[in-house]
């Protein structure tokens, strides 16, 4: 009798344990993390004014995708020094470089085929950063609306803007 009860109890306990064992599961935690994002503007780190030689060598690389020769670097740097209004001197140098046949600028068709891509590429090329969404949106609207705006004119504005004068 006692033996029969013992077996029955054992079976009940076993079933209960089996039930309990199958019902207990480890909690699965969902962990949500955020990437760190800076809250300052994208261009605030640029506060050192480029020297004339830095400006011209970087500009040349941006426009021609190759380095300026040492002789030309000295010559153009000296010419910039010979004019007191540096913004004006830069304008004259840039407009001379734009007149050279080997300057590497996307065509009008290329720009208009992918305006966003062109904007991103131009920001990266000249300002070494991506545009903010508002900047991208403004340029997109401006280029689309003004059908005569050429890539050369866009490049000219970037080469002469304040941010480009700093690093």
């Amino acid at each position: 009798m006692n033996m029969r009860i013992s077996v029955k109890r054992t079976l009940i306990v076993g079933v209960l344990l089996l039930f309990l064992g199958s019902s207990c599961r480890r909690d699965e935690y969902q962990i949500y993390e955020l990437d760190s994002l800076g809250v300052t503007g994208l261009n605030t780190g640029k506060n050192k004014l480029k020297t004339s030689s830095q400006y011209i060598s970087i500009l040349y690389a941006n426009l021609f995708q190759k380095a300026l020769s040492a002789n030309q670097l000295v010559e153009i740097t000296n010419l910039i020094e010979s004019i007191g209004d540096k913004q004006l001197a830069h304008e004259i140098v840039v407009s001379n470089l734009m007149n050279r046949p080997d300057v590497r600028i996307p065509t009008m068709t290329e720009m208009r085929a992918d305006v966003d891509g062109f904007i991103d590429e131009t920001y990266t090329r000249f300002l070494v950063r991506e545009p903010t969404e508002s900047e991208r949106s403004w340029f997109r609207n401006f280029i689309v609306t003004n059908t005569f705006v050429s890539p050369e004119i866009v490049y000219l504005s970037f080469a002469l803007c304040d941010e480009y004068q700093f690093y």
Binding site: T44, L79, G84, I92, S95, N99, D162, E163
Partner: protein
Amino acid sequence: MHRRSFLKKLGTATAGAVVLPYILPTGRLFAASGSQIAPHVVFVMFAGGVRQQESVLQRYLADSQQFPSEGNIMNNMLVGAAPVLKAAYGTDPGVGPRGSVPIPAILQQSLQAQGLLFPELRATTAGHYSGYNTLLTGNTGTTQGLRQKPIYPTIFEYLRRHAGTPASKVWFVGNTIGNSLPLLNYSDHADYGVSYGANFLAPNLTFSSTGITHLSNAKVYHPEEEMAPMLQMKYFLNNSYNSSGGVVLPNIGNTDEEKQDIRDFIRDTFAKVQTNQIAFPPVNDNGDLRNVGFACEVIRRFRPALTVVNLSSVDGCHSSFTGYLRSLHRADHAVGYLWDFIQTQVPDMAGETVILVSPEHGRNLAPNPIQDENDWYAYDHSDANSLRTFSLMAGKGVPQNLVRGSENNPLGSSMDHVLTMAEILGIKNEVQMSGLLAPGTLSLFDRI
């Protein structure tokens, strides 16, 4: 009630009547308080280090090479007969000794006869850059570093700030970009600085063969279809940068119109260079003379209120006394030509201009050991004789044929030029009130 209202209106009207007339179109609040002697000043920094003995003292070779030949080799600036013996400072004849043909005077009457000469002025320094600083800031600049912007405000900044003169009316025409010359168009002073700077130009370089290569082929953009959208995009980019805490770009303050004028001037000058139409002096075989030719182009185009022109070929005296004499004679030719050009080719400025001429310092009493092709000894600049210099001015409102001071009675300082120019241009009180001139500095008019 009516009485109170009447008094209130009266007070407002009186205050308005006092303040409103002084808000000028140039943006400055008050008109210059001093009376103007002339609306234009041309200041020639007769620089490079000019020895008293060969200039105002007219001793030619007598006090330098122990050769008994005296005379005046600055026939446009000074009164005096030319040396008779061993002329080596002129142009080269087809046949005969090199430099034996003096350049004929351009002016019928020398500047000395036309104006006021201080033959024995004291410079504060025997260094070029500190000497330039002294001439342009009216201070000693004893703590002025080389390759550093002037510590004290320059006459350019005084003029632009206190007279509201536009940037394109204030020019500094340098003969080179060496000797830190391009740094002199404005100071680092917190109350003045870049916003009041002068337009600097080193035309010998800008319009050189390298200038033709890199600057003369500027693309011409359509003003409405290309330049206008370019400027729109540039302004957008600038706003974006500045609103994100960007640094303000140093800017001497040429307006868009002034920039266009200067751009046009540069383009036109390149065209003149390529067709040999620059207003060079009759003899133009050195950098000083060519620099003055370009300065004449600047003056003709912009009619500046203030033009400073730098010369410095005489500094070749470190190694060649003959070269120094030639350069000194040519610097005089340049000054004579410049003054004649203003009187004959620039109607707006003829009779309305004052010219000032002064070296930044002198040269040594004793020579160094270097001898040139004539076996003449060269001179450096470091001793007390290097602090001896002179000043000459002529033009509207300047006393004629007047000499003040002498070899035994020095009078005036090289620092006096800033206040002198300020007085001519009507801002003397403002410059004095700035408190930034060296103690004891006076206008040369006050030295008379």
